[in-house]
């Protein structure tokens, strides 16, 4: 059952990766990166259930924090330049 859920989340991440590689402007790529980071947070929660280890929840929290920081910094870069 968990394998099916992990497969669904990986398919979703790969579909978003298509938009990340193709996206016409920088903002499209940043949106795709945001969606991918949140999908990986959900994937890490499912992996924590699959391996029965609560450590992956901390990894998910830190990964979400880093994804949010990356998105915000790219938003500032789009708005004002370096």
């Amino acid at each position: 059952m968990f394998e099916f859920i992990i497969l669904l989340l990986l398919v979703a991440t790969l579909l978003v990766l298509y938009r990340f590689l193709k996206g016409p402007t920088l903002s499209d790529r940043v949106v795709a990166f945001d969606v991918m980071s949140i999908a990986v947070v959900a994937l890490l929660v499912v992996l924590a259930l699959y391996f029965e280890r609560a450590l992956y929840l901390d990894v998910a929290l830190v990964f979400g924090l880093i994804g949010f920081l990356g998105t915000t910094i790219f938003g500032r870069f789009i708005e004002k330049g370096i």
Binding site: I5, L9, A32, V35, A42, F68, T71, R76
Partner: protein, 91 residues
């Protein structure tokens, strides 16, 4: 019985992620992409977290912290991207 409920929530969340990915590919405009890329992933993550806390009730505090974090940061990042793009376009 409770196990099937948890798995149902997690599968609904994963389907919300699939819907978000398809929308992100098929939507014609940047702002509609931001729309589908924020709301669908927020509800998907929350459904996955609810299902996980049903399956493992001892992890509920960490999962609630993660849910609060997602609810705080996800609209903020989409708002930052939309505002920056709008300002850059209006120059």
């Amino acid at each position: 019985m409770l196990e099937y409920l948890g798995f149902g929530f997690i599968i609904l969340g994963a389907l919300a992620f699939i819907v978000s990915a398809i929308g992100l590919i098929r939507m014609p405009d940047l702002y509609t992409r931001i729309h589908i890329g924020t709301k669908a992933t927020t509800i998907g993550t929350l459904l996955v977290l609810i299902g996980a806390s049903i399956l493992e009730p001892t992890w509920s505090w960490k999962l609630a912290l993660l849910a609060a974090f997602i609810l705080l940061t996800n609209p903020l990042s989409s708002s930052v991207i939309a505002r920056a793009t709008r300002k850059k376009e209006s120059l």
